[in-house]
Amino acid sequence: MAEIRREGDHTVFRIDAKERQALLDIVERIEPMMQISSWVSPRAYQEDDLEEEFRRLAGEDLMRARQADLATLREDLSGALPVLLGPDQTWGWVRALNFLRLALAEQLGITEDGWEDRYSARQHRRPPLATLHLLSWVQEELLEALP
């Protein structure tokens, strides 16, 4: 059973090889959805000219930052077990997980609070909703483990 806890300055993520591979597969499947997600890359301005300027100044940096966070998550997951994360790595993970959750939720057509009630218990236990819940669990546990 996977476990996340803080030990000293580090976050320790204990998972077995099978769980690790499942998470890596999830990242691989969802990452392409991020490219087309308006939640992952939202507007800063309502006005088109101001938005264009903001994109020109910040758009590339934001994209690189997202890619770096995802790369951190992938590389850490691919290394030795258990996964040991310093504070900066933990932040990279929680940001990456948020982007993955946003992209998946948008793909599922989740648009409003209370969406959980639209689905049966059985649907919540199976992919893709179970995937969303798994990512939520990892993110929540990492947040609790932050100093």
């Binding site: 939640w39 890359s41 800063a44 982007f99 989740i110 409003e112 969303l132 947040l143």
Partner: protein
């Protein structure tokens, strides 16, 4: 000079042009989305704006219940940095004139 600066530019009596748009306060607005964890929003507000737990929690609840909240009012350049940082954390944030 941006369009906003041009709008805010005034000719002085001496014929010099001053740029006031950069110093005029802008609102940093965070919008609700149905999947971002409330605990995450609180932690991000504390990290980016230095808010205490109570302030960050109240702002998060305002976002959640009212759909949006102004989390900072800052000069435009600073507000753009704040919005970019919020976007880098996956939050839905926009700038609006104060």
């Amino acid at each position: 000079m941006t369009a906003v600066d041009q709008l805010a530019t005034e000719s002085t009596g001496t014929g010099e042009v001053t740029i006031e748009g950069r110093d005029r306060p802008w609102q940093v607005v965070v919008w609700n989305d149905p999947v971002t964890l409330m605990s995450y929003v609180v932690v991000v507000f504390r990290r980016l704006f230095g808010y205490d737990l109570e302030t960050a929690t109240n702002l998060m609840l305002k976002v959640h219940t009212e759909g949006r909240a102004v989390v900072a009012t800052e000069p435009r350049e600073r507000a753009e940095v704040s919005v970019a940082q919020l976007h880098a954390h996956g939050l839905q944030a926009t700038l609006a004139r104060d």
